[in-house]
Symmetry: C2
Subunit: 229 residues, 2 copies
């Protein structure tokens, strides 16, 4: 039979072990912020968020609003009239923000991207994200949002929906057409900037962000579970 | 200068032409009903709806509710916590229904499919749809919804998320693993029943339904616009 002292030591060691365990789990939980707005491409948003949540990334979907006011119910009508309800507004998110998220994600959709291009808080967040060398990920029309905010990341290699190639090249980016057989699929990564082409490359986009945050092994397992590749 | 009579004839002929034109347009607009419930796989829902709206199909997203009451705001929390707002409830849709839709779509997601399996109005609608030889389309976990409603379509060839293979075979279906190089991608079609595997085959699923409703040419154009294939 254990003495009281050794029992207490035993309990303390279990607690310390549990504490270390949960610290490891807490440290491992990466944080993503996915922006959305009226006119966002719903497939690009939903696939990316879903894939990252399958990768055990803590994803917040934040609604970018025009001006100070906006829809009270957090619902935005996306590009093909699917109504998606955000978890919060970008304004609330930024107000309560301690550390920056591990990645900021910009889905495409022409009208959604135009709104994000006009929204000063989006530019401010992207600038801070880049200053701390944290990931920014943009797909389809969304790389034009970077260009609109003082040509953030200019000089970098990126891709986008092909119709924005000329506009982005003129704005000072090195536009690339990613090969389907590249390790991450149809995605371009240059340092902390991850970009992709459009709706059908959203799985590649989400899995590349997932691999960057939680490792290739986890991303591969998630891809298999979704019957991808 | 035209006489009054010939002017009136001219106007009448323009009107008749416009009427014929709009009749043609109205006749061409196919109608789809996509069901959703709490726990529906959001990618499978959103990709299918988005792809079909790109094909100019008139899609209604209807929320299946437990019992008579439910969420007033039409919002359901999907399988990976993306909140999607439906266009209507299934109860309202059925109440106002004249002609049956051209296709009823069942997305997967285990909890969503379980709820649809328990919902008598879903079974009733699927039965009517089959009686009139109209399309039913199910993906991932959703083919189990057919089995739950008196083994509707039993004896047919179908596919599903692979983990349901045994259950569906025992229920009397002829389970198939669709080849990636089949004309419609990873989809099985047997008469008015279209089935597919899971999240990553949602584009194939949506495009196959689109091709069935509005033709392969339109579906191919939509696929190209999304940078698919």
């Amino acid at each position: 039979m254990l003495s009281l002292v050794s029992q207490l030591k035993h309990i303390a060691s279990i607690r310390a072990f549990n504490f270390r365990q949960s610290s490891i789990i807490m440290a491992a939980k990466k944080r993503a912020l996915a922006l959305m707005a009226p006119g966002t491409e719903e497939m690009e948003l939903v696939i990316t968020v879903d894939v990252l949540r399958r990768c055990e990334v803590d994803v917040t979907v934040a609604l970018v609003q025009e001006g100070e006011t906006g829809s009270d119910d957090l619902v935005a009508r996306c590009s093909r009239a699917v109504n998606v309800k955000a978890d919060t507004t970008l304004a609330s998110y930024v107000q309560q923000l301690g550390e920056l998220p591990d990645v900021v994600i910009l889905p495409g959709g022409l009208e959604g991207a135009r709104l994000m291009a006009r929204a000063a808080p989006v530019g401010e967040l992207l600038r801070r994200q880049n200053q701390e060398n944290k990931l920014v990920a943009a797909i389809c029309a969304a790389p034009t949002v970077l260009a609109a905010h003082d040509r953030l990341f200019a000089g970098r290699r990126l891709t986008s929906y092909p119709s924005f190639r000329e506009q982005l090249t003129e704005a000072g980016y090195v536009w690339e057409d990613p090969a389907p057989d590249s390790p991450n699929g149809r995605v371009v990564r240059d340092g902390n900037l991850i970009t992709s082409l459009g709706p059908a490359t959203s799985f590649d986009f989400g899995l590349t962000i997932g691999a960057a945050l939680v490792g290739q092994e986890v991303a591969d397992k998630v891809a298999k579970g979704m019957l991808y590749k």
